[in-house]
């Protein structure tokens, strides 16, 4: 008798357990997606966590796992993930890396994953920046057009009017020479060498012939510009670190130590000056970035991509659109000086109303510049290697290893060889 009741007890427990498991799997039938960001911890841990929680609340059947990756290893980690077949669904990259991965077929286009009215709110130039043949491979998240952040005290000391920062690159060059001569402090340290865009002073000029088949940057105007900047370097008016690794953060470090008069970079670096060197921040002011003849310049876009091999691309795209919706973008942009990537968000008076304080002035100045920003996409094979060749040409000219003409000729030869399809 006892044995029989034992069996009944056992089986009823099992049935109960089974029911619980079944019920819970129905309730918690979850889609899990993985979300990678680039170096946002620890400063923005709370913000991203709130984004994730907010989305999960709206979509109780979705679970978002958030991982923050240091920017300097993100590419390797993504590669490793792709190779292993277990990919994150939504990844935060910059426009350059996005194009790189898109070219290699590692990303999914968003055209089919989101409705047209959602896509059309993003700035078209930004969507186009990471598009190939009309397919958009990322949702732009935030953008940071450069501004000129300058130290009024140094300007004063050099005899320059602190309310008249340079408006063009030629003026910036002259100011830098004056500042170095009068105070011994470097005038500027623009980020000349970039990894997948042309050197900064070529930003105004097309690199390829109109049919895209030949490199034309060894023509006379280009040689002239390179010679001008190489002379600046040789004569000691540009810091020697401008050719080195990590130059773009070096400039912020130098500025924050009072070793640089003008910091020409994204406004989020101005924030770093505020956090790290408040005394320098106090004597700083902001102006639009110097412009070249074309009156346009490039800017850094951070975006979200959907990786090919994601198990839930629609959910991933939906989450990416949520992160980059107007409300969330505005909230993010209020924490640090970056800018939205969609028209509806830019309408917020936060980006246009001055209130007399420096942070607001920085923000409004940069927001105004958004209209000057262009995104030129280079349809070239192996962009890493080709831009490396161009950077090498600049380095060689700066260091006097080659004449500017020869340096550019050699780089053009590399480009032409690649463009001819070898």
């Amino acid at each position: 008798m006892k044995k029989f009741s034992d069996v009944r007890k056992f089986s009823s427990v099992m049935i109960l357990l089974l029911t619980v498991v079944l019920l819970s799997s129905m309730v918690f039938a979850t889609t899990t997606i993985t979300f990678w960001t680039m170096s946002l911890k620890p400063k923005f841990t709370n913000y991203i966590t709130s984004l994730v929680n907010g989305y999960e609340k709206l979509h109780p059947d979705v679970k978002v796992i958030w991982e923050d990756i240091p920017w300097n290893v993100e590419q390797q980690k993504l590669l490793g993930a792709i190779a292993s077949g277990k990919v994150p669904d939504v990844v935060n990259l910059n426009a350059d890396w996005t194009l790189d991965f898109a070219r290699r077929g590692a990303l999914l286009p968003l055209n089919n994953l989101l409705p047209q009215d959602v896509l059309s709110d993003y700035f078209l130039t930004m969507l186009k920046a990471t598009s190939i043949d009309g397919k958009y491979y990322s949702l732009p998240w935030y953008v940071a057009p450069d501004v000129t952040f300058y130290n009024k005290k140094i300007f004063d000391k050099a005899g320059l009017d602190p309310n008249q920062p340079p408006k063009t690159w030629d003026e910036a060059i002259i100011d830098s020479i004056i500042i170095k001569e009068k105070t011994g402090i470097y005038g500027m340290m623009p980020t000349i060498l970039q990894s997948s865009t042309p050197p900064s002073f070529f930003g105004d000029y097309p690199l390829l012939s109109k049919d895209g088949k030949r490199a034309i940057f060894n023509g006379p105007e280009y040689v002239h510009v390179l010679t001008k900047w190489a002379a600046l370097y040789k004569l000691g008016y540009l810091p020697k670190e401008v050719l080195g690794k990590g130059a773009w953060t070096k400039s912020t470090e130098l500025y924050g130590s009072g070793q640089l008069a003008m910091l020409i970079t994204g406004p989020q670096f101005a924030d770093r000056v505020k956090w790290n060197s408040p005394d320098i921040y106090k004597v700083s002011d902001v102006a639009p970035v110097p412009l070249g003849p074309s009156k346009t310049f490039g800017a850094a876009i951070q975006d979200l991509v959907i990786v090919k091999g994601s198990k839930y691309p629609e959910v991933a795209a939906n989450f990416a659109a949520y992160v980059t919706n107007a409300e969330n973008e505005i909230a993010f942009d209020k924490m640090v000086t970056i800018f939205p990537t969609r028209a509806s968000a830019l309408k917020d008076p936060f980006f246009s109303k001055l209130d007399g304080t420096l942070p607001t002035k920085i923000r409004v100045t940069a927001a105004k510049e958004l209209s000057h920003v262009t995104y030129v996409i280079y349809r070239i094979p192996n962009p890493h290697e080709l831009f490396q060749a161009l950077n090498d040409a600049v380095s060689a000219a700066f260091l006097g290893v080659k004449t500017p003409q020869k340096a550019l000729d050699d780089a053009a030869a590399v480009w032409n060889k690649a463009l001819s399809g070898k």
């Binding site: 911890k41 290893v73 060197s277």
Partner: protein, 275 residues
């Protein structure tokens, strides 16, 4: 005679102090940077002594990064890594020293070979292997590819060679099995060498950076050096914080070594380290 001894002493001391300054100055500089108040690292002329000095950078780094977790991770990883390496190296070295067997020379050469090869190739392949074994994001996955040290095998082989045959002969006559002989008799006899090797391994495991970064995806599992990497990329333009992080990461190992250095030197001397 006395005068020459004195000048000898002075010149030796001068040379030693000179080397000591070169060795320790970077640490002083980093320490000083971590105690500074404002971003004066590139100030020219630089401050030799921080004035005013503050511990604020340490508290910021400690709180922002939750360093306790990473210390614990590193301690765990280091302990297991060292034990596994010592055990496996001793196990492999023993037959190479005490047995005469077919293929001994080939085995010896095969162990030497990987020492001579660059490391980058292994990274990706091992990552994929771990994935197939479902060992990604685990400490096992971090330790396993690095569990056998050819250097350790050589070191222990040399040490085993130095033990007179009488010990194992006596044990064999008493009927002990080979494994027992190895574990309970021969290995304890080379404990100075084991200490020296363990200390070197501990250093490697405490500082290890690239491999755990690739294998582990859960940032809560990262060891200290990887957490420091985060620190550097996040606080990139504020080196006071980076400097504080560097001191916090390095100091425990230095203190630990101060206690261990007697065993270390003894171990190197006793075991003999040559081929």
């Amino acid at each position: 005679m006395d005068k020459r001894k004195k000048t000898n002493y002075v010149s030796v001391m001068t040379l030693m102090i000179f080397f000591a300054i070169i060795t320790t100055f970077p640490y002083y500089w980093t320490l000083k940077t971590s105690l500074e108040v404002s971003s004066n690292v590139y100030k020219f002329p630089p401050d030799i002594i921080p004035n005013p000095a503050t511990f604020k950078n340490y508290t910021v780094v400690w709180n922002q990064l939750g360093l306790v977790r990473y210390y614990l991770n590193s301690i765990l990883l280091t302990s297991v890594g060292v034990v596994v390496n010592v055990f496996l190296a001793a196990m492999a070295a023993y037959p190479l020293a005490r047995f005469n067997f077919y293929g001994k020379k080939i085995v010896f050469f095969l162990i030497l070979l990987p020492l001579m090869l660059p490391f980058q190739g292994g990274l990706i392949v091992n990552y994929l292997t771990l994935r197939n074994m479902h060992l990604l994001n685990t400490y096992t996955g971090v330790i396993l590819p690095l569990a056998v040290s050819a250097f350790g095998i050589f070191l222990f082989r040399q040490a085993y060679l130095g033990i007179p045959k009488d010990f194992e002969d006596a044990a064999r006559i008493d009927g002990a099995g080979e494994f027992y002989i190895w574990l309970r008799i021969m290995t304890p006899l080379i404990s100075p060498t084991i200490s020296a090797f363990a200390i070197l391994q501990a250093i490697t495991w405490w500082d290890i950076f690239l491999w755990p970064l690739i294998v582990l995806s859960d940032s809560q599992k990262y060891p200290l050096a990887v957490a420091l990497m985060y620190l550097n990329s996040t606080f990139q333009t504020n080196f006071k914080y980076t400097a504080a992080g560097m001191i916090l990461a390095t100091l425990p190992l230095i203190i630990a070594f101060l206690f261990m250095q007697r065993f270390f030197i003894k171990g190197l001397t006793a075991g003999g380290v040559k081929y």
